[in-house]
Symmetry: C2
Subunit: 468 residues, 2 copies
């Protein structure tokens, strides 16, 4: 499983679900020696994990006022900063890494605390679209420099490589002699040739524990703060060129790449129909995610200045059962976060995180490609992980190896990575990687009891996916 030998130091900001999952694989996967990792995190979370794995723990919360002071002694040229925190600005740390000559990776484009829940900001200003545009604008002004890999976890992250792999697999299954993409624009061309109109990040997490969710408790298989933050952000989706029904509650941002739109409602209150091979059809939450925007942007084909092709891209998340109940309770509390938080890991007794991409529009049917990682398999592969965290870890490792091989690329998004490298590094951690065709559509099997506005002429309209 060793894909690189990294001689520098690693500085990890945040040591929660993802951080604790990443730490134990740094040595086996990247040859990071004991004692070469420093963790900066405000809570004294699991100091025994850090100690056992030989990492130094600095207990501090980073703020706009102190982060340079705290991090400067820790991070030097050629070192690698992993931002695996919540509420610490990605852009601030990217700028800082640029000045220090250090590599950077995060798994979510985070702002400083106090942006997502600021009612004086518009929905557009609270969106991931806006956060991304800020980083991209900075990147345009600061084009060269050490590689800073944005949002490279499982999703966002790995799933962008899944999309490319799925497209190649579809073409191969269909016996099409399409040329293998060489330049970025070849990817949307391939997607267009395959009639891909919609891409869901289609995830069903069935991990469960015998300790039930309590009253006034939010249970999740990864960050409670992170999920509630993004769940209360406006829903966002890449907006495809085939769409012909503008949602009444949608808005355009009026600046930037233009690949995505937002809805004037939070993701936890927005449901869409989707499908995975193991779950079958389900209702998922259309929670905003960086990949909905960046995949849609990357897969935009421009011809003579106008947008000729773009798929609709969105997340359709069916979290684990206790999280569904936590969301229901949260909604009943008007979005006021529960007092108790619990991230499931060691207590999980069964379940699988089925995380993949669902490509829709081709005549042959829908195609799902992704990882099916059971809790049992995850535990065989790495300590201090659940299936969910290990899928993130796999994406982080894929991104880190790519960054070590391409250390001077400046700001990079997951779609720009070479997906072969990412998947080669990630695959051993992902359990079963499966590609499955299906005949599902969002119009199939709809009840006749209540008339609903649909567009039967094209099943792949967002109108047909959305749950009213």
């Amino acid at each position: 499983m060793r894909h690189a030998t990294f001689p520098g130091r690693i500085v990890m900001v945040g040591f929660g679900c993802v951080g604790q999952g990443v730490l134990p694989v740094l040595e086996p996967a990247l040859g990071v020696a004991r004692g070469r990792t420093t963790i900066v995190t405000p809570g004294a979370e699991c100091p025994h994990v850090a100690a056992r794995l030989g990492a130094e723990l600095i207990v501090t919360a980073l703020t706009p006022g102190n982060f340079e002071q705290v991090l400067s002694p820790l991070l030097h040229e050629g070192d690698f900063l992993l931002n695996l925190s919540v509420h610490v600005s990605s852009l601030a740390l990217i700028e800082f890494c640029r000045r220090r000559g250090a590599l950077y990776l995060d798994t979510c484009c985070e702002p400083w605390l106090g942006r997502y829940d600021n009612p004086r900001l518009s929905a557009s200003e609270r969106s991931n679209y806006a956060l991304r545009e800020e980083v991209l604008a900075w990147s345009r002004d600061h084009p060269r420099g050490p590689t800073a890999l944005l949002t490279q976890g499982a999703n966002p992250g790995l799933v962008s490589s899944f999309v490319k792999q799925a497209l190649l697999q579809m073409a191969s299954d269909l016996g099409l002699a399409l040329p293998r993409p060489q330049v970025p624009q070849d990817w949307p061309r391939l997607a267009q040739a395959l009639d891909v109109k919609v891409i869901h990040i289609a995830e069903r997490d069935t991990q469960t524990t015998s300790r039930r969710k309590l009253r006034d408790e939010f249970v999740n298989t990864w960050s409670v703060d992170g999920f509630v933050d993004e769940g209360l952000q406006p829903s966002e989706l890449g907006w495809g060129t085939h769409e012909r029904h503008w949602p009444a509650d949608a808005g355009r941002h009026g600046h930037g790449c233009g690949a995505a739109i937002y809805l004037e409602r939070p993701g936890v209150a927005t449901r869409v129909r989707s499908w995975t091979p193991l779950e079958g059809s389900y209702h998922g939450f259309l929670v905003t995610h960086a990949e909905s925007i960046s995949i849609a942007d990357y897969f935009t084909l421009r011809e003579g200045g106008r947008v000729a092709y773009r798929p609709t891209v969105n997340y359709a998340y069916h979290p684990c059962d206790d999280t569904v109940l936590s969301l229901h309770e949260l909604a009943g509390r008007n979005g006021q976060l529960q007092q108790r938080h619990r991230i499931l890991r060691d207590e999980i007794d069964s379940g699988t995180d089925e995380l993949g991409v669902l490509l829709m529009g081709n005549e042959r049917g829908v195609y799902w490609y992704g990882s099916r990682l059971s809790i049992g398999r995850a535990r065989e592969l790495a300590p201090y992980n659940s299936a969910t965290s290990l899928q993130v870890v796999a994406g982080v490792l894929g991104g880190m190896v790519w960054a070590l091989r391409h250390p001077r690329c400046g700001v990079v998004e997951p779609e720009e990575l070479d997906h072969d490298t990412v998947l080669e590094v990630a695959a051993p951690w992902l359990g079963e990687l499966a590609g499955v065709w299906g005949d599902w559509t969002p119009l199939r099997g709809r009840s006749e009891l209540y008339p609903e506005e649909t567009d039967p002429a094209d099943p792949w309209q967002f109108l047909n996916f959305r749950v009213k």
Copy 2:
């Protein structure tokens, strides 16, 4: 606990959750001797329960074609038919009982199989409103005869007595010297004097088991068939005179009492904000229920031919957690019922059914009155019961005692009963009976992040309750 001694025979149609709960209390509460009860039910459900309690079990499914033949030998003048089944027409059995001179009680106004899910019928035709009007029309044509008590379980049933008790309690707490109601019209007068604009049947069931809901399984604390049937019926609510925002998806029936409206969507997909003292604020499912219509009708005040006062009345049901998950799964399957069904009873390891009425509009605040019955207390009180079934049993017993004391009243609804009698009989089975004031409103604590259409001038508008 003995309130009557019934010398006749009991014929029970259906022997599921409610039937099994009722059987063991017939002797202690009504003096029904062993061997005096016959059960007609299609499945051989729990024959050991019937045998142990000395009841004869006839394994037959009643149909429009066979029910008279099956029931005639069993039911004679002065006997009591309890319809505790699903899919057996209440009206058919009421007519039959009239012919036999037998008493009748059910806990839900059921049609024969094939009505609720018939897409050729309109939403109005599939409503509880329509079912009720059919029975009331028959009753007007057949005014006198043995008492036939409609929909007298917990809710519908008991809750109508709760509403009266709550009104008296409110008046007393407020120190108002209002005359105690003497005639039916005094009740809406009292409600109006207390400024009651909205009545929720506000229920939170927290019963739970360590055996988690499986994939493709519907779990509930009472009938799966019954709940899915009513959950897929259109939402229905009594429509109050204070309402000034007509819901875009609402319809009027255009016939009958006019007290209620329906929404062109199923109850399982309609959420409303509500509150109970133990749960706090929550989102409940606005599932149609007979009491939403009959309470609204009974509490309608007419002056000079026009409707001068009526509260809005609806169910706001937060079922147990595994049922919430079952509903989420059911929605994802387009309402196609799961293969596996499980009604929780003996495996329940904790929880309480908090079932009451929430009266809203009075200046002092909202007032909740109802039963808090824990699973532990329910088991102390009666075998073969959960908290949920025992609350239904309590309503059935209250109704049966009333019917035995008033055996010649023809068709009767729960609001027409003397609530003192009902509560006196029911109370011993209900755990804690509590009346609690609160300062909740559906506008309190709403998030500012997403602008929503509300009517701040009157918190008690349905617009403000409904979750969009």
